[in-house]
Symmetry: C2
Subunit: 348 residues, 2 copies
């Protein structure tokens, strides 16, 4: 059997390759990095190149990237923190980031905060020591000041999907969800001439909370409507919290005739629970969501929603990041707005 897992086992190094090929260790290094860099290719004779390559194959040599990183101070790895791996909104975003990263020969370290504050901090703590070359993140709880402290010590490029981050060295992608909420609400009101419109939001200390509630409120006021506190519920982005909001609404006696939910998962929870209680969507209660996750096309009636463009978001974040990584001296701060658009289906 092989020497698997024996403590004594030692991976072949450049020295081993060099000895076998009858050259010096730095020569091996040059041969191998000629492929990457592309410029130094002429510095090595074809003959020794061949001998080295043969030795590499014979030994099954693989460069030790840890040693390389120590020397070059680059890990060719970026870290990404997203808020919820299980939320369909983030998949295309993560995928897009990985696609761009691969074009640049980078790996992506994905982490998941589950919307939990401590996890966001833990991620930043890890990142500070980990040697990654750049960071993409969706800070939900982290304030601009807290994040700034990390960035000031990390000395690597950061890109965030956020609106509330002010640090001059953090590039931003953001979504004008205030406007989207405003226009979505207005569309919803006009669509059915609704008078009583509800809202399922999230706590005010989460960044999208106040913004989207304000967009909603303004649209209501501009339509001459009052926001009725009985129809305002707070969730936490999850399906279950949407169901809970629906139960709370039903127990309250009177129902609004239309509801704006600030994400699809809660909107779907709402629909499911409303239907289980015998209400028809959209006839009794119209529902509109936010995100356009895959489940929005599965629920019946299919969910009308404000679609974000997570692929665009991920691509732009990654492109901004790699531009910084490859050009560390460009100084102006970049901010990119990714747009929303309404997708009309059957729930409103």
């Amino acid at each position: 059997m092989s020497d698997f897992r024996s403590k004594q086992f030692k991976r072949p190094t450049m020295y081993d390759v060099a000895r076998l090929a009858g050259v010096s260790q730095p020569t091996v290094s040059r041969v191998l990095s000629a492929g990457n860099a592309g410029d130094a290719s002429a510095l090595i004779s074809d003959e020794t190149t061949q001998r080295v390559l043969d030795a590499v194959n014979k030994l099954g040599y693989r460069p030790n990237v840890v040693a390389r990183s120590l020397r070059t101070r680059r890990t060719f790895t970026v870290a990404m923190l997203i808020a919820d791996l299980s939320n369909g909104f983030y998949h295309p975003m993560a995928r897009a980031v990985q696609d761009v990263a691969r074009q640049h020969n980078y790996e992506v370290l994905i982490s998941n905060s589950d919307h939990i504050y401590e996890n966001e901090r833990h991620f930043c703590d890890i990142v500070l020591g980990s040697g990654v070359d750049g960071v993409l993140m969706v800070p939900i709880h982290l304030s601009s000041d807290e994040l700034s402290q990390y960035v000031d010590r990390a000395h690597i490029p950061f890109v965030a999907l956020a609106e509330h981050i002010k640090h001059p060295h953090i590039d931003l992608v953001w979504v004008n969800d205030h406007r989207a909420t405003y226009e979505g609400t207005r569309w919803l009101i006009n669509k059915g001439s609704h008078q009583k419109v509800g809202f399922i939001g999230v706590s005010d200390d989460l960044p999208p909370g106040p913004r989207r509630f304000d967009g909603f409120t303004r649209a209501m006021n501009d339509a001459g409507l009052q926001v009725d506190p009985r129809f305002i519920k707070i969730g936490d982005f999850t399906l279950e919290s949407g169901k809970k909001a629906a139960r709370s609404l039903i127990e309250g006696g009177e129902l609004p005739t239309a509801i704006f939910a600030i994400n699809d998962l809660m909107a779907i929870g709402l629909i499911l629970t409303l239907q289980d209680a015998g209400y028809r969507v959209p006839e009794d209660v119209a529902v509109i969501g936010f995100d356009d996750i895959p489940e929005a096309s599965i629920v019946r009636p299919a969910l009308t929603t404000l679609a974000q463009n997570p692929r665009d978001i991920g691509e732009k974040m990654a492109e901004m990041l790699f531009e910084r990584i490859e050009n560390p001296n460009s100084t102006e701060r970049r901010v990119y707005e990714s747009h929303c658009h309404l997708i009309v289906r059957d729930s409103a």
Copy 2:
């Protein structure tokens, strides 16, 4: 402004801390690793410990994990390859792995193959050089022989979610989906006394393909039923491929009265397209799936399905891996079977 991104910037090292504290660099190392190891704590005087810690804080020093890894040959990172980030089945699994990893002070590098062969190979290539301390993976296309070649050269523990991997050094978690399919099919047949039962599978060169088709076939035969090739369709695990299978079935003219889909996503695509074409589920066609992803509870009728236990799978894989990492000499191969159970909802 800070020296952010200036090429000249140098993170403080142990030498800087040592100089500031008036001690030698190894002393700093000892102070800092006292917290981790726990044993060496008595070796340093309280006074110098304090001085060192003060210097650390003052400089904002963070250990360079790349250098540490080079020295210790441990990265405290494991890599995980899953087949599809966007498939709800894998979330609890990834989450469970991360939870276990955190208990061991490990980070998890998540990668996504998208069911693509080249990506599985790329992952293994990266892993070989990356210095991770262990690997968890879901090999879909990779054959036992191919994977074995990587493992023989990697000299780190591997754990796979698979049945077809034979290598004596790869620990396995597996699901007896042959039996689950058999029993699910039998239940389906009995439930509605069905005579014509369809099957949505995947290509034979994907490991679950033949196993589940065989389980289906046996159950049919044991019930005295013939497998009708007109009712057998091949998909690729995606919702869209389920829809396509349904369209193909509908165009075929005659429909089965019950269909077994080997995953939930295809089952849901089936239901949606069937309903759009005017068929009732389960009255006209009963449908059963496999996995119990969150969407199974969203679709109406709610999907009857064979639930896997991804949290259990992830936990066991991680536990096996860390046992190997922490005890490299234990030699016997571990194999764990994670069980399925039927969840009866409304689609069958």
